[in-house]
């Protein structure tokens, strides 16, 4: 009777660089979302509408998503083989996310 052997799953990643790149990339993407919203509300930069019926939100969200993917890709390429300190990277990420949430909170726009 033939036996079926299951190959071992890939070896676990030795370094945490790829994880930290994903985390900080998420923070940068979030911040980009907040920044595009604030810039739009302040009249400093208006992302073009990429789908007319939905309006400018399509440009803002697409641009922020592009920044997120770009930031993640660059960080991943630079950090994937490195061991990064958790504290500073995560602190920056949380800070960027907090700023992003504040920036996308409509009552804040009235302060501009």
């Amino acid at each position: 009777m033939a036996t079926v052997s299951r190959s071992q799953s890939p070896a676990p990643a030795d370094t945490n660089g790829a994880a930290m790149a994903a985390v900080l990339g998420g923070g940068i993407g979030s911040f980009a979302m907040g920044a595009f919203v604030l810039l739009n509300e302040a009249g400093l930069f208006t992302a073009p509408a990429l789908y007319g019926p939905a309006g400018g939100v399509t440009g803002r969200t697409t641009f922020a998503t592009a920044v997120w993917l770009l930031a993640w890709g660059v960080l991943h390429a630079r950090w994937r083989a490195r061991e990064m300190a958790y504290g500073p990277v995560f602190t920056w990420t949380v800070g960027l996310v907090v700023l992003a949430i504040v920036a996308t909170f409509p009552p804040v726009w009235g302060l501009l």
Partner: protein, 175 residues
């Protein structure tokens, strides 16, 4: 017809995908909280379930925001022709026509336009970690803490915007 096409899309967006994402986020958070692997346990087995649920949740969130932006939002914001008195087919105009409901656009809908995308990005980051670091995602305290925080933020954001969506749909449904 019992449900219009617009109404069905709204249900797919809010109940199907958004509800699925909320369930997934709750499950992932509970998993992180309750399923701490014992030193002698097979950590990979549990991590596979965690990776699956976070990846599922990330997909649900992306589908929710994309459908919300490109399919639900356009009919919501259509401007009624001049002289239109029955605004039932024009949710944004209907909401803004009454000072007591105007906040549902100025606050609720404006929040829903952008904030959920943040949750999608953060949940995707956790899903990536859960898949790539399947053996260590649950056993590494720092990684667990990061994942728990980011998923917690996503859960809070998605819960908040879901509630706002219920309010908007209650006053001006896409029928």
């Amino acid at each position: 017809m019992l449900f219009s096409e617009r109404s069905i899309w709204t249900m797919v967006h809010g109940i199907g995908l958004g509800g699925g994402a909320l369930l997934g986020l709750a499950a992932a958070l509970f998993y992180l909280y309750a399923a701490r692997p014992a030193p002698s346990s097979d950590a990979e087995t549990g991590s596979r379930a965690f990776a699956t649920v976070t990846a599922f949740t990330a997909v649900m969130l992306w589908l929710t925001v994309i459908i919300g932006t490109y399919i639900i939002f356009p009919p919501y914001r259509v401007t009624p022709p001049p002289g239109t008195t029955d605004l039932i087919q024009f949710p944004r105009a209907l909401i803004l026509s009454n000072p007591s409901t105007a906040w549902l656009h100025a606050f609720a809908m404006e929040t829903k336009e952008h904030m959920p995308w943040i949750a999608s990005m953060l949940t995707t980051a956790v899903a990536f970690i859960a898949v790539r670091y399947r053996r260590t995602a649950l056993s590494n305290p720092a990684m667990r803490r990061m994942a728990f925080t980011l998923l917690g933020v996503s859960f809070a954001v998605v819960t908040f915007v879901s509630l706002l969506g219920v309010f908007v749909n209650k006053v001006a449904p896409l029928d």
